[in-house]
Symmetry: C2
Subunit: 86 residues, 2 copies
């Protein structure tokens, strides 16, 4: 079994209103050192698959087809092998 840790983030050139709102929130709380905030998604997907290459291909396809909007977002992921009982 594999656990995929997937990060989906907006491409650097895309405007990020959520990040800006968080930045302003932090500054108004007194965190004046905050320069920039970018907000994204973090997904943990458990896969019933024993072959690492197949798991990798599947996760890549999931990101392309559903998890990320590749026009404005980019994604990266890591696969961690876990026990089925975990």
């Amino acid at each position: 079994m594999f656990l995929a840790h997937i990060n989906v983030s907006l491409k650097p050139t895309v405007n990020d209103p959520q990040g800006i709102a968080i930045q302003q929130g932090l500054r108004s709380l007194g965190f004046q050192t905050v320069e920039k905030v970018r907000a994204g998604k973090r997904l943990e997907v458990h896969l019933q698959e024993s072959d690492r290459a197949k798991a990798e291909a599947q996760v890549d396809e999931m990101c392309q087809r559903l998890l990320a909007n590749t026009v404005i977002e980019r994604y990266e992921f890591e696969l961690e092998e876990i026990n089925a009982t975990a």
Copy 2:
């Protein structure tokens, strides 16, 4: 300058409707190997701070006060040192 990579995720015992929706979406697309999905947030915070210990303390306080709801969420972060010009 530091860049903090922050992951905020729901605690394992907390119900995650977004994760369930994504899991069902993936399955209906034909990804039958998907067992479980948990959804969370990924934040990148740029800090104008030269001292690692101070940056770490600040990010921890940000998570406690704004970025995570520690009743139902947990957080973890990594600090990466970056150039001010980056």
